[in-house]
Amino acid sequence: MIEIRKVSKWYGQFQVLTDCSTRIEKGEVVVVCGPSGSGKSTLIKCVNGLESFQEGEVTVNGISVGDPKTDLPRLRSHVGMVFQHFELFPHMTITENLAIGQVKVLGRGKDEAIERGLRLLERVGLKSQAGKYPGQLSGGQQQRVAIARALAMDPICMLFDEPTSALDPEMINEVLDVMVELANEGMTMMVVTHEMGFARKVADRVIFMDQGCIVEDATKDEFFGTPRSERAQLFLSKILSH
């Protein structure tokens, strides 16, 4: 489904990604973790071309992301993405947020788009908020709407870029619950997160990054059993000790 081959990226002289390779099969849930500044967010944004890269290749469903001939808007329209800071469109109601992509990108009729949006809102437990604006919702609610917005496009896979990092602790679970449900339904997911509980529960594989490199790419059991790299062991011991 998603294939990343020897991807390297530089900001000027500074190398942010070095020779990153991995692949995510259909239906797989892969968690990407690692210390801040390790390149996790940059890597996940390379998958739908929000970040460019200088070397290597990324393909989604066989389509090359880095190829200048690729119709990127079309590719992005079926790769859902959820951001750390939600990024709902503040001047649109929740319903409009859910409909805009369907109408402007997929060409659905307005009524159909709204109906589909409302069904997804119900699914994330927010149907009563449909007429509100994003600024009137809590962080956790906004993030659930953001997930619904991505799902409204009928994505073939979902990318999550630290979806719970900007949330108050008591709101993290409501978002994770939605994500767990998605994973259980067989959605292909690439998730940048520090929520190791989530990883334990639903991840098939865990990727550990440090200084722009993929240091560890292991099944969940291997990773939580005994990570091969010392760096990953140290990271785990620090975030799991409390």
């Binding site: 079309r74 990024e87 469109f89 503040p90 001047h91 604006y133 009137q136």
Partner: protein, 245 residues
């Protein structure tokens, strides 16, 4: 002060004519409004476009947009007025140059509108750019991520918020354009300031004249201000606090 006040002057007929002085001032007021509103339309359209281009990923376009802004911001408005009126027609191809100088209808008006519109467009472009750049970078990404093209992302995601954010500085700019339109008298547009000078010389009642003119300019800018405040209230986004990210 040994001044002979005469507030009735406005209703007296001009020397050797049918009109009253009030007619003069109101005609001038009409031209002031016409110049200002026409120039404002040019400034909004062009300023919006240039402001967007300054934030576009295309280096060449962004550079051209920057040149536009720098040119119009760094030269006094009065000098620009003279440049457009006296210099630019000379630089045109012969045929066109002759036409502009001899046959172009409402030459002074068109020149003033063009000059004031371009001058103000540079200022609006800067505000539009600042508005766009004040939005979180993630908004652009979110628009692109659901499959909108870059122009669609500007149209539906970025500009609606950027414009709301810059309404207060745009309000000042809208008021400024009425005030700046006074410069048009220098190239012979018969707007309010032009008529005021004429009335002062003709009637020798300078104080009444300029007090009346002051009031008319004040009313213009005041209405502009209240109109924009109305738009600002109407377009407010529930739950959104400007500056919060």
């Amino acid at each position: 002060m040994n001044y002979h006040w005469n507030w009735g002057i406005f209703f007296e007929q001009i020397q050797g004519g049918e009109e009253t002085y009030l007619d003069w001032l109101l005609t001038g007021f009409g031209w002031t409004v016409a110049v200002s509103i026409s120039a404002w339309l040019i400034a909004l359209l062009l300023g919006g476009l240039i402001g967007v281009l300054r934030t576009a990923p295309h280096r060449g376009l962004a550079f051209l947009a920057t040149c536009h802004v720098e040119f119009y911001r760094n030269i006094p408005l009065l000098v620009q007025m003279f440049l457009w009126f006296f210099v630019v027609p000379e630089l045109l191809p012969r045929e066109l140059s002759l036409w502009v100088k001899q046959d172009m209808p409402a030459k002074e008006f068109v020149t003033a509108v063009l000059c004031l519109g371009l001058f103000t467009s540079a200022r609006i472009a800067e505000q539009v750019r600042a508005g766009i750049q004040s939005l979180p970078r993630g908004q652009r990404m979110a628009g692109l991520a659901i499959g909108l093209t870059l122009p669609q992302t500007y149209r539906y995601v970025i500009l609606p918020m950027a414009i709301r954010i810059i309404i207060p500085p745009l309000t000042s700019e809208f008021m400024n354009i009425f005030k700046n339109s006074a410069v048009a008298f220098a190239i012979g547009v018969m707007e309010l300031t032009f008529q005021a000078r004429q009335m002062q010389e003709d009637s020798e009642q300078g104080i009444e004249t300029y007090l009346a003119v002051t009031l008319l300019y004040f009313i213009c800018a005041f209405i502009a201000n209240r109109g924009m405040a109305f738009i600002e209230r109407r377009s407010r986004v529930p739950g959104f606090i400007v500056g919060a990210k």
